[in-house]
Symmetry: C2
Subunit: 192 residues, 2 copies
């Protein structure tokens, strides 16, 4: 596979903003069952090997897991403060849970679980997210790094349109990358 | 009108993150005509006087203006890096354009226009956003602060649910504020 053309400006942005831990966070929008949008901050966990798919992790018990089953479309909005640029990545999400039938994705899920810190892993042993607050259920021992807990999910975003805006130009620069099955990736400069 | 109970923690977050210009930016999700989400960074412009509505500005020629006419629901996701907390604000958007029939909103639109810098105002004189890039159309003189350009819009977000997550706790703290016409605002602590 070849790297999509937006990978290089995105890698540059990650590098130039590496002093900020939170430059690896972005906002992921999905659509709720009743047609209203949902939006939350997630952590970028790198790209799935040999693909242009962004890795995120989530809990199968979270609202977003349910939303994705109804509507897999998502737009990630990623703002980089140091370089004052924004990437909007529109594409479909794939939720890789314990019953995934694709063996290589199951292996990627296990790897993502191993790569987490104990502090991140233990959150998957907590009481169900979003349920009325319980006083107990948060004091678990760190789970085994070798075996993902059952509701741990790897979440993949496969962009088909990427809108890159650089605020620093005068006027600003904005470039839209679009993927079509027949043509691959194409680019179009647009007005900011 | 009384301040909604989430106004006080939000004001505190704004204050504690005031050293970061970009702590006044948040990500606004809407739904596109075909049911896919859209997500972009916007600038918080304060609250509309005597309301709990967040002020944003936008261009009537932008895609989001079109999306809002089809589906007014939005979720804003606002992450504060210094204090490591997130507010998710779900509600409906109101687009206040030049033909708005509410006189007080028209006045608020004119005030928001006046409060902008020349650099921000001139962007509304640029060529249509999102159209194929033109080499000209970006060299306008700063528009008159007294008269908003016709496609300048004030955009209002009226939250009816606010989900506040503090990452610093162990376990983290998460509180959901919900509005019901009959009951006003209520609060529920939930599992993070």
């Amino acid at each position: 596979m070849t790297l999509a053309p937006w990978r290089s400006p995105l890698a540059r942005a990650l590098h130039r903003n590496r002093s900020l831990v939170y430059a690896r966070y972005f906002q992921l929008a999905t659509v709720r069952a009743e047609g209203r949008p949902a939006n939350r901050t997630v952590v970028f966990r790198g790209f799935l090997d040999n693909t242009n798919q962004l890795k995120i992790i989530t809990d199968a018990r979270s609202e977003k897991a349910e939303q994705i089953e109804q509507n897999a479309w998502s737009e990630a909005c990623w703002y980089f403060p140091n370089t004052r640029e924004q990437f909007r990545l529109l594409g479909q999400l794939t939720l890789v849970g314990e019953h995934c039938s694709d063996d290589s994705l199951l292996k990627a899920r296990a790897r993502s679980w191993q790569e987490l810190s104990d502090a991140a892993r233990v959150q998957f042993a907590w009481s169900p997210p979003g349920a009325p607050r319980e006083d107990t259920g948060f004091d678990s021992l760190p789970p085994d790094p070798a075996t993902p807990l059952s509701h741990f999910c790897l979440l993949l975003l496969d962009p088909m349109q990427v809108d890159h805006l650089e605020l620093k130009g005068d006027p600003q620069n904005r470039l839209i990358y679009s993927f079509a099955d027949s043509l691959g990736w194409s680019m179009q400069a647009v007005n900011p």
